[in-house]
Structures are given as structure tokens and as C-alpha cells.
Symmetry: C2
Subunit: 319 residues, 2 copies
């Protein structure tokens, strides 16, 4: 188990991933600023390679390995953005990638993972079955496990998005990011502590998976919950490393209902012409839902990803 990630690890990650990751732009919308009553700077991680910030962490983890460690490739379990990100990151180093995916996962997502050259391993649904299957793959292949969020290199890599945001957007009063397993949230906390200690970290969490709020309030991780949210990237449980970093740093959690997330997603599509997924839109929804909290502030929002099924848009489900 590597040591906990630090701000220096975020700086090292920024240098390590620079040859591979996309420096994404910061977008602005005067129309949405007017609605929100604050000045928003959107970090466009949906334009990151493989369509989500996840490539930063995966890429850092892959390139932090020694040649010896990388020899048998990497492995993870994910049917979502981390699986695709790790597959692409492994491809940049020309090493093998094994991704354990549950039976019944969305075919288009699996096609994306396979398209980057990863080997898919099927398992039964459920986190326990996935972890067992992944351990089996690691043992059989000698691949290094790269966990989606409970991994110091992954957390450090995710923190590079906030570094870039602050460098491009100038001083910010708050940065709002979605929280699921806590990799982006923890990485952002490290980045803010290093370069903008007065900038507040705000986490946006679905009301149907609000265990980060509960974990931080109780001072211990809540793990016995069944997520129920449209935000498919935020159904995971806050990991131990993320929990510790967030507890030490301090973070405000704003809980958002799915209907508000869908409305924010539609607003970004309509006004900014950007395809973002629900797990990204939740951060803007948190701002729009708390006008007094953000009135007049300079607010960074990480648009974390844009991988959405165009055949099943959330506002079309009632039709």
C-alpha cells in the first residue's frame, strides 16, 4: 500500500501526465452566470481523453510504475469511465490492461474499453463479485491493480484538474466537484491546500447516494447503503484514502436531487452546447440550488465527464 497522496504528488502527477493528457479549457457562460448569480468557471474535463477526468488518475498510476512493475500490465474492475481511462492510459505505455466488467454492463461502454485495447473479463454483478474476480485476474496475470479511487496515484492524478483550473481561471472563492468514490474530491482537496488554501471545497453528492455527507458528519465511513441515483459515476462508496484526506481538509457537502441534476445537464447542453453526463451536471445543480451560498462569488465547477448514452437521455424517459 503506497503512502497517502500529498500536494507534492499532485505536482509530480501534473508533470508525469503532461505528455499524454489533454490540457482542457475553462469555459464560461454569461447566461448561466446570470441564472446562478455568481461567476462560474467550468473546467471542461468532458473534453479530456476518453471523455472524463478519470484519464488523469489512470495515466498517473500507469506512468508511476517502474518498468518491472509495469511488465505484466494493469488491472481494474469498472464498467464505466475508469475502465476506459485505464485502458487508454495502458495503451499510451504499450502495456496490457485487464478490466473486470459485470455481466449486463452497457454494451457501448464495454466497446469503448475494448476499443482502447483492454482485455475484458466478465464477472457477476455486485461489488464483492467484482473484487474477487479482479483479484483472480491480478493473481493469474501478474498485473498491477489500479483501483478507481482508493489509490494514492489515482487521487494525485485527479488533483491535476484543479491545478489547471486555478492556473487558467485565476483566483476562485470555491471549487465544486462531484463526489462518488472520492478520488476527484480528495485530489482537489490536495490541490487547493497547496495553491489556494482560501478557496473552499464544495462536494456535490446525489441524495440517493449521500454517504459522503454522512461519513464526514459521523467521522467514520458509512458503507451500508444502496445507491439510487441517475448519476452512474457516483454510485460508489467513498474510499478510505479519500475519506481521510477530506476529513483532514474539511469539505462542505451539498446534496442534490436527480431532477435538479437533469435540469442542470439540459441547461449546459442547451446554453453551452456541451455534452456532459449527469455525474458532471450535479456540480452545477448544487450551485443553482444554493443561490445565497454562492451569490457574487467566483466559483470553479469541474465538468467531470461527457460519456452519456445518446439513446437514453434522462429527459426522454417519460416520453
Amino acid at each position: 500500500m503506497p503512502a497517502a497522496a500529498t500536494f507534492d504528488d499532485v505536482l509530480a502527477a501534473a508533470a508525469r501526465i503532461a505528455p499524454h493528457a489533454q490540457p482542457t479549457p475553462v469555459l464560461r457562460s454569461s447566461a448561466i452566470d446570470a441564472l446562478a448569480g455568481c461567476r462560474l468557471a467550468f473546467k471542461a474535463e468532458h473534453l479530456q481523453r476518453a471523455g472524463a477526468f478519470k484519464f488523469r488518475g489512470a495515466c498517473n498510476a500507469v506512468w508511476a510504475l517502474t518498468d518491472e512493475q509495469a511488465r505484466h500490465g494493469v488491472a481494474t474492475h469498472s464498467s464505466g469511465n475508469h475502465g476506459a481511462a485505464l485502458a487508454l492510459a495502458a495503451a499510451t505505455r504499450r502495456i496490457a490492461c485487464h478490466v473486470v466488467v459485470p455481466r449486463g454492463a452497457v454494451a457501448s461502454k464495454l466497446a469503448a474499453i475494448a476499443g482502447y485495447g483492454a482485455v475484458l473479463h466478465r464477472c457477476d454483478p455486485g461489488i464483492a463479485a467484482r473484487e474477487v474476480a479482479c483479484a483472480t485476474v491480478v493473481q493469474a496475470t501478474g498485473a498491477r491493480l489500479v483501483h478507481p479511487y482508493a489509490d494514492a496515484a489515482v487521487i494525485a492524478g485527479q488533483g491535476t484538474a484543479a491545478l489547471e483550473l486555478l492556473a487558467s481561471a485565476g483566483p476562485l472563492d470555491a471549487v465544486v466537484v462531484p463526489v462518488g468514490g472520492g478520488g476527484l474530491a480528495a485530489g482537489t482537496a490536495l490541490a487547493l491546500a497547496g495553491v489556494a488554501p482560501d478557496c473552499q471545497l464544495v462536494l456535490a453528492e446525489p441524495s440517493g447516494a449521500a454517504e459522503t455527507r454522512d461519513s464526514l458528519a459521523r467521522g467514520e465511513r458509512v458503507t451500508d447503503f444502496v445507491p439510487d441515483t441517475i448519476c452512474d459515476g457516483l454510485r460508489g462508496t467513498l474510499g478510505q484514502p479519500g475519506f481521510e484526506i477530506l476529513r483532514a481538509h474539511g469539505a462542505e457537502v451539498l446534496v442534490v436531487d436527480d431532477a435538479d441534476t437533469v435540469a442542470a445537464m439540459r441547461l449546459v447542453w442547451q446554453r453551452m452546447k456541451q455534452v456532459i453526463e449527469p455525474s458532471s451536471a450535479i456540480a452545477l445543480a448544487a450551485v443553482l440550488g444554493h443561490p445565497a451560498r454562492f451569490a457574487g462569488l467566483r466559483v470553479g465547477v469541474v465538468l467531470s465527464g461527457g460519456n452519456v448514452d445518446l439513446d437514453a437521455l434522462p429527459w426522454a424517459t417519460a416520453a
Copy 2:
């Protein structure tokens, strides 16, 4: 009737609209380059104010007026992007804007036009009824008519998109733009003649409204056709000023079926995470449909607009 637009008018337009228009970015996609077999530079006019390149021409027309000419505002007939663009352009000069719209036009588009402060005037559908209604409004109000495309100031303004594209993207072998009424096509022809005479102009036209191809082939404007295409921005008839500029400059017309346009639109949403409308996607569809024509070239593509009804996406109509 003002004189025909020239390259100097495009340069003047660029200076005139600079305080108001958005300098849009040039986007690239290695995934789409790989599919197309060429190197594409996408000029992101869907990120222009009011969501389309149309703001350039409308803004140039509005600010080219003397104070005396502008005193009673401007008028046009359009239920689409030009109506919204002219309304916003008039708002930047704080003058009145009258927009004649046919009964039955899409409510969300009318709301956008009214949202920028324009006065809506209803008329019966059909181009003849629209022109009569618009003439009546002009006579009653003293407003200056700003035609969507048969207008030298509008054509010059549209040409500024290609100027910016060439300045940002570097040398290009070809620039592909959609053609409907011919404002963008003619403005682009003027811009290329001035700064990149060796760069070929390629026009993408729907097979259900391919009168520009026929007009250029015959050497006279074809006006007796009934458009049948999903590209709602390209149903107009090539205007006389555009026809003359395009005939003098020379332009290749590639005709595209709607199904290929819809596939290209979906590809841009999926891979580039950009919301573009069918009338924009047709330009990429033309490139993808002619791999031998563009193989290995540096190709500029103007993504002309992103105003699309999110409740009626073309790939969902069969569902």
C-alpha cells in the same frame, strides 16, 4: 441596394464585430481524423453568441448602419438562427428589432428571439407571405431590413469565421461549409480569396435541397424547388448576391443525404461532446462521405450552429 461585398468588407466586418462577437475556438479530434483519413480543424461557431455563426453577419449589418439609419431599428423574417442573431445584435446597439415569424414556428425558437428583446410579428407560412409581412413591418416602423443572406453586410460578416479559422488553424487545403441561402458560403469565398487563395472552398448541401449545385452547374439560379431535408437551416434558396460571388470564385458542391448528416451529428456529440445541429453536421458528413477527395489533406470545417431541439433528436424519431 449596397454594392456587392468584397474582401475588404470582410476585414472591416472583423474589426466592427470584434467588441461583440465571440472569438470561437478551433477544435480537433484525433478519433474523427482517423475515421476521415485527413486532418480536420473544426471552427466552433455553435459556441458563437446566440448559438450560430449568424450573429457575425447580423452584428456587422447592425453596426454598419449610421445612427440615422439605425434610429428605427432593424427588421427581418426568420424563425431560426438569423432571427435570434439579429435580435441579439440589435440589443448590443440598443435599437429595436422586429422579427416576422410564420405561424406554427417552433415555440422554443420564438422564445429565444423574444428573449433577446425583439418584437415578434406573426404571418402565414410560406416565403411569399413572410416577405409581404416583413415589407409591411418595415413600412410601418421605418426599421431597416436585414435579410438573412441576400445582404452584402451579412455576407461580409459571415466571412469573418473563415478569417479566424485560417488565423488559428494555420494553412488549410480546403474549407468545408454548409450552404443554404449562401451567406456563409459567399463570405467564406471572399475570405479565402483574400488570405488563402490556394485553399479550396467546398460546399455541403442536402440532397433534398441541392439547388446550389444545380444553380452553379447551369449558370443561373434555380429557384423552383421544394426543400425536403432535416437541415432546417439549409432550406432557403441560394440568394442572388451569394450566387454571383460563388460563381466568380468557384466552389465544389458535395451533396449529402440526411441519414449521413445525422450519423455525423451523432459522431460529433459522442466523440467531441459538442452539441451541433444537423445543418452544421452536414459539412463533416461531406468529408466522411468522400474519403478519397480529402485523403491526407488539412481540412477546415465550420460547425455553423448548435441550436437543436433536445426533445426531438433525429436518431430518436424512430423510437
